[in-house]
């Protein structure tokens, strides 16, 4: 019995059996999450399967949703809007992320602050700015009509165009950050080596940087798509009554139609869409990473 064990201090009790006391600090946060998140979510999902509260389970409201042209149009609009925003964000974030990853200029902190800081301003301020610019009597239309280029205002707000512009502005910092991590991970020596061997700037970008940053591009597309698909305020304000997406339709269902189970169905559809994209996209991203780095 005179082994090393007897010389070392006795093992603390919590190693041998899970001590209840170490779970005590978890009680308050867990109670909050349980009662304000988990149970309400469970109730909402269960309500979506009932014709009205307390009835037997049924798919009635799901049939209603998927049989209604207006709802399917809203679903399609959500996907179209999110897809367009994902592309715009990634295309615009790429030059900024590349600059931030490679530049040693003294302007770098300024560009970084400009790219990230608008996030602090909140959606309301930015949407207000865009409305002032894009409205029928707004800055762009007023200028173009004053110059005599247009006789009728261009429809820039209360439609897809306005929402995509506004959301691109909101989501851009997230795209920059996910591309930045990816581009920073590319060894700059690869670019130098290619240049020494006579590759032009264009072929360095096309054949080295772009292919190696594909995981970053995919994660930027994914994060932009998921943020856009669940965005509420920007589509509500810049899309107006003419451009409804799932998130704004959920709210409308509660406020104007007071149809709780149907609102729950729409929320579940939105949730399932987001989780599917995040899951499938995440798997795809992980596969790309493996392919590039092993």
């Amino acid at each position: 019995m005179t082994s090393v064990e007897s010389l070392s201090p006795p093992l603390p009790a919590r190693r041998s059996l899970p001590h209840i006391s170490q779970y005590l600090p978890l009680v308050p946060p867990a109670v909050v999450l349980l009662f304000v998140f988990a149970i309400p979510m469970g109730m909402m999902i269960s309500l979506s399967f009932r014709a009205s509260e307390g009835d037997a389970p049924t798919l009635y409201h799901y049939e209603r949703f998927f049989g209604d042209g207006l709802m399917l149009a809203g679903l399609w609009r959500t996907a179209l809007m999110s897809g367009l925003v994902a592309i715009c964000v990634t295309v615009m974030a790429y030059p900024i992320a590349y600059y931030l990853a490679r530049s040693r200029s003294r302007w770098r902190p300024v560009v970084f602050a400009l790219a990230i800081a608008p996030e602090l301003a909140g959606v309301v301020l930015r949407t207000y700015g865009w409305l002032v610019i894009l409205e029928d009597h707004g800055a762009i239309n007023a200028t173009l009509m004053w110059a005599g280029i247009l006789s009728e205002p261009l429809p820039l707000s209360k439609n897809l165009v306005g929402v995509v512009i506004g959301l691109t502005h909101v989501v851009l910092p997230f795209g920059v950050l996910s591309l930045l991590t990816s581009i920073q991970g590319i060894d700059p020596n690869l670019e130098r080596a290619a240049q020494i061997l006579g590759a032009s700037r264009l072929s360095v970008i096309r054949r080295i940087i772009l292919p190696l940053s594909i995981p970053g591009i995919v994660s930027s597309l994914l994060i932009a798509f998921t943020i856009s698909a669940s965005a509420y305020a920007t589509p509500a304000l810049l899309g107006g009554a003419g451009f409804k997406v799932l998130a704004t339709m959920v709210y409308e269902q509660v406020l104007f139609y007071i149809d709780w189970p149907f609102a729950a169905v729409m929320a579940v559809v939105l949730l399932v869409m987001m989780l599917t994209i995040a899951f499938v996209g995440g798997r795809f991203e992980a596969r790309l990473h493996k392919k590039l780095h092993i």
Partner: protein, 267 residues
């Protein structure tokens, strides 16, 4: 060819930065322009719109938003510390699954969380909880995962030898938490709490379900107004609330000192 490319790159960079700055510049100009037509001539600028902000129409929602964000920040900080202590510091059995549960609200869109909470409250007849109480609960659920993640990050990096040294020297568990763990994770705690403050102060998708007449947050008051007109007062409200947020961040940074963490200064 290379020259052409670098000019193209730089001009596209400038254009994108202009796109980012444009709505912000417009709001600032609108807040000081004498009429609804935006003026870029500084000699015409006026502060008259800011003068209207002291009316209770804007002041009451502002005060509610400040109160809400303050309570939410405090609650998320305390709950986040407790959760991170058990999960990231003590690494209790099953800590990975518990962490996944703590972070799970992040996977759910805010509008869905908002609907679930309002459904829950109304199906039990808790209508009196709509307004401030409901807003506090919903915002805590929104911000808690972010706070937990940031504090847990700081705790995972915590050097356990410091704790062992203190224990050998006879420090009690309370003393070790109070004088070693807390000061070291303070930047993580305060960056999480700052984030919680901004998230709560600017929130729309959850608040929209939970406000009620007389108990409305500032962003909701502004968007309700915005649907009818683009009154320049709204520009002034937006500029003032951005200034308030920046001041709050500055204050939190003063207390918590998290900027070293962002610049990668200390471990």
């Amino acid at each position: 060819m290379n020259r052409f490319l670098s000019i193209l790159f730089q001009s596209s960079l400038l254009l994108i930065l202009a796109f980012i700055a444009l709505p912000l510049v417009v709001v600032f100009a609108a807040s000081v322009s004498p009429t609804a037509v935006i003026s870029f001539n500084p000699s015409e600028w006026t502060m008259k719109w800011f003068g209207e902000l002291t009316s209770s129409r804007w002041l009451d929602p502002f005060l509610l938003s400040v109160k809400l964000a303050t309570i939410v920040t405090f609650l998320s900080g305390v709950l986040g510390l407790l959760a991170a202590y058990a999960v990231a510091y003590r690494k209790c059995p099953g800590h990975e699954a518990i962490m996944a549960f703590l972070l799970s609200p992040l996977a759910v869109p805010q509008i869905v969380k908002g609907l679930a909470i309002v459904l829950f409250l109304s199906s039990f007849g808790f209508y009196h909880l709509l307004g401030t109480a409901g807003l506090v609960m919903a915002h805590v659920v929104l911000t808690l995962p972010f706070v937990v993640r940031m504090i847990a990050g700081a705790m995972y990096n915590f050097d356990r030898r410091l704790d062992q040294a203190a224990r050998i020297l006879g420090a009690t568990a309370f003393q070790r938490i109070r004088f070693i763990l807390l000061p070291i994770i303070k930047p993580g705690l305060f960056s999480g709490m700052t984030f919680a403050f901004i998230l709560s102060f600017n929130n729309i998708p959850l608040s929209v379900f939970l406000v009620r007449p007389g108990e409305t947050t500032l962003p909701i008051t502004v968007i309700n107004h915005m649907e009818y007109s683009l009154d320049p007062v709204l520009a002034a409200v937006n500029v003032a609330s951005l200034a308030f947020i920046l001041a709050a961040i500055f204050l939190f940074e003063r207390i918590g000192g998290f900027s070293t963490q962002i610049h990668g200064g200390s471990k």
